[in-house]
Symmetry: C2
Subunit: 218 residues, 2 copies
């Protein structure tokens, strides 16, 4: 560790992690501006001024939370795409991963979705870019499915957004210990994503069958 490292260059410490976690919780609950450094400090059992021994600034805290969220989602998505070549299965697994992340990290994603305007530039632009890349990655997948004749949708973009937004909502309502477990929710959302693009599912006995399955009620 360099002698003059600033807090933001220091690896995680228990204190920093506590501060980060408290910030996530309070930002999600009260909003960025509705949360003062005094509130965060109190949550970790110290005074506001002492936070600056561990973090650069309130803005840095917010930025790091949001960048970490997007980075994880992007990584997860890339990782999932590599687990199979089948576009429908890729979509299903992508949806499941997306939903699982939202179920496990509801507060982070709520902050990430709601507090973009609270970020100063250039961080705001950076986050927007990361989000654009994430959506574009999904859209490319759906376009591949369309090109392969596996998905049927009027617009890859419309489907992309519908699917992503549908999954984002999980962070708002899912509760561990509720009627549906995380895996069930992920499963249903995977199913629903395929329905939204009217995916022809890969089935062993359907290797040479016509691909079109039609819409519900079609």
């Amino acid at each position: 560790m360099p002698a003059h490292a600033t807090p933001s260059e220091v690896s995680a410490t228990p204190r920093r992690d506590d501060i980060r976690a408290a910030a996530v919780r309070l930002f999600a609950e009260r909003g960025y501006y509705g949360t003062g450094m005094r509130d965060i400090a109190e949550a970790v059992g110290m005074r506001a001024s002492s936070l600056y021994n561990h973090v650069d600034s309130k803005q840095t805290l917010l930025r790091e939370i949001m960048v970490a969220t997007m980075a994880t989602l992007l990584d997860e998505h890339e990782r999932v795409l590599r687990t199979t070549d089948d576009c429908a299965e890729q979509l299903r697994r992508s949806m499941e991963a997306h939903v699982r992340y939202h179920a496990r990290h509801p507060l982070e994603v709520q902050v990430g979705n709601r507090e973009i305007a609270s970020l100063d530039e250039p961080a705001r632009g950076e986050i927007r870019e990361l989000r654009r890349r994430y959506a574009q990655s999904w859209q490319a997948l759906i376009e591949r499915g369309i090109a392969e004749g596996r998905f049927e949708t009027a617009s890859a973009q419309l489907s992309t957004y519908a699917i992503l937004e549908m999954g984002i909502g999980v962070s708002l309502w899912y509760r561990e210990g509720g009627p549906l477990g995380e895996s069930e929710v992920a499963y249903h959302y995977g199913d629903m994503a395929l329905r939204l693009v009217q995916a022809a599912a890969p089935r062993p006995r359907r290797r040479a069958a016509p691909r079109s399955r039609g819409a519900a009620g079609a």
Copy 2:
């Protein structure tokens, strides 16, 4: 008009409308806290102190914007439910109305979805209650469809949220003059909503047919 009416009790005036519109735009773009009264004032061509001749406070502005949005959505939903008795058609039309509102009033709904934490109590609780009622109204519709054997879904609540959130996203990406017009978008979302609940569509020739259509790829 009573001699001692406060601004919030006065009916709309051009000035008040201008202020409201400017607030919607700026709140959506910069966030509630990222928007100062000076910014709103400048947008309508006056000084911040003069705004108080027309509005009670910044909080009142925010509250009114958010209440009006929810009230309209609730009214629209109720109105649509009365246009038909068929649950699938009700769902389709509800979705179309929901999406149309989001397409036409993107900024209002963005503010409504993002700035809940910026509201002081008791307004915050009131808005949450309105949102809960809206979701509950949709869930009741889906439960009716399930009870009638017309919809098939593991959870009415899960489907409700998936559908609502999917539609909310329209406010983020839809642009008038884009590749898809508002009616097309509404149509596709109506379709997708039915697919999400695996609705047995009413078709003249399917009166006696088995209702199950199965999931995509089923």
